[in-house]
């Protein structure tokens, strides 16, 4: 409990103010509190991020502005990673062939769910920022 709130409660106990006035004062104090810095990775303990945020601001050729704001729980990414283990081998073969043809020689069969989970675990330290001529993209965890 902070000092100002204690003072208000003290005045209420001494009968200097009514309960309604005390409630109004406490509400005003709460309003004046600075917002928590949840979006700042340095402000929260490591591994405590709960959401992946994608914020994009863009300008169309017609000059109209747009904004995309997506919040995805990291838990959803972890659950999605488990889906990868269910992909049938023949589908992985086909995907590998297509990746190879596109110039990405990546063997998806070598990707283990544990590795993907470790990747998601470490996402909370990641901040991706892109400044483009017609927009701005920011991906981070909070």
């Amino acid at each position: 409990m902070n000092e100002q709130r204690r003072d208000v409660l003290g005045m209420l106990a001494e009968g200097k103010i009514t309960a309604d006035e005390a409630e109004r004062l406490i509400t005003a104090l709460e309003r004046d509190q600075p917002p928590p810095m949840a979006a700042s990775p340095a402000a929260r303990p490591r591994g405590k991020a709960k959401y992946l945020r994608v914020v994009m601001e863009f300008l169309e050729e017609s000059g109209e502005a747009g904004r995309l704001n997506v919040r995805v729980p990291l838990q959803l990414l972890r659950a999605g990673v488990q889906l990868a283990a269910l992909i049938p081998p023949q589908v992985l073969d086909r995907a590998n062939t297509e990746l190879d043809r596109s110039g990405v020689p990546l063997d998806l069969k070598q990707l283990k769910p544990e590795q993907l989970e470790a990747l998601v675990e470490h996402l909370d330290e990641t901040i991706v920022e892109m400044d483009m001529e017609d927009g701005h993209l920011r991906v981070y965890c909070e």
Binding site: P73, A79, L86
Partner: protein, 86 residues
């Protein structure tokens, strides 16, 4: 915990914003025959592609349970659409 409420808000220029609250459980109950058919179809597909049905169902349920907290907010040219899952 599975999603309880889906909020959809659509704001268009020169019109009042429309906000819809969809309680998930009653809707799932009403659509339960469709859900049962979809599950059956999924089980058949798993069998065809030789995927463990129980594992697939478990993963699907985990994904559904991880949905609360998701939020998709798009604004473009004074039109805004928000979908929030709680």
């Amino acid at each position: 915990m599975m999603p309880q409420l889906v909020t959809v808000r659509v704001k268009r220029p020169d019109r009042h914003a429309v906000r819809i609250w969809v309680p998930v459980l009653p809707v799932v109950l009403v659509l339960s025959p469709v859900v049962a058919l979809a599950l059956l179809g999924g089980a058949v597909a798993c069998h065809i592609y030789r995927i463990d049905v129980v594992r697939a169902l478990g993963t699907g349920w985990r994904i559904v349970c991880a949905l609360p907290g998701s939020r998709f907010d798009v604004e473009f040219d004074r039109t805004a659409v928000l979908v929030a899952i709680r």
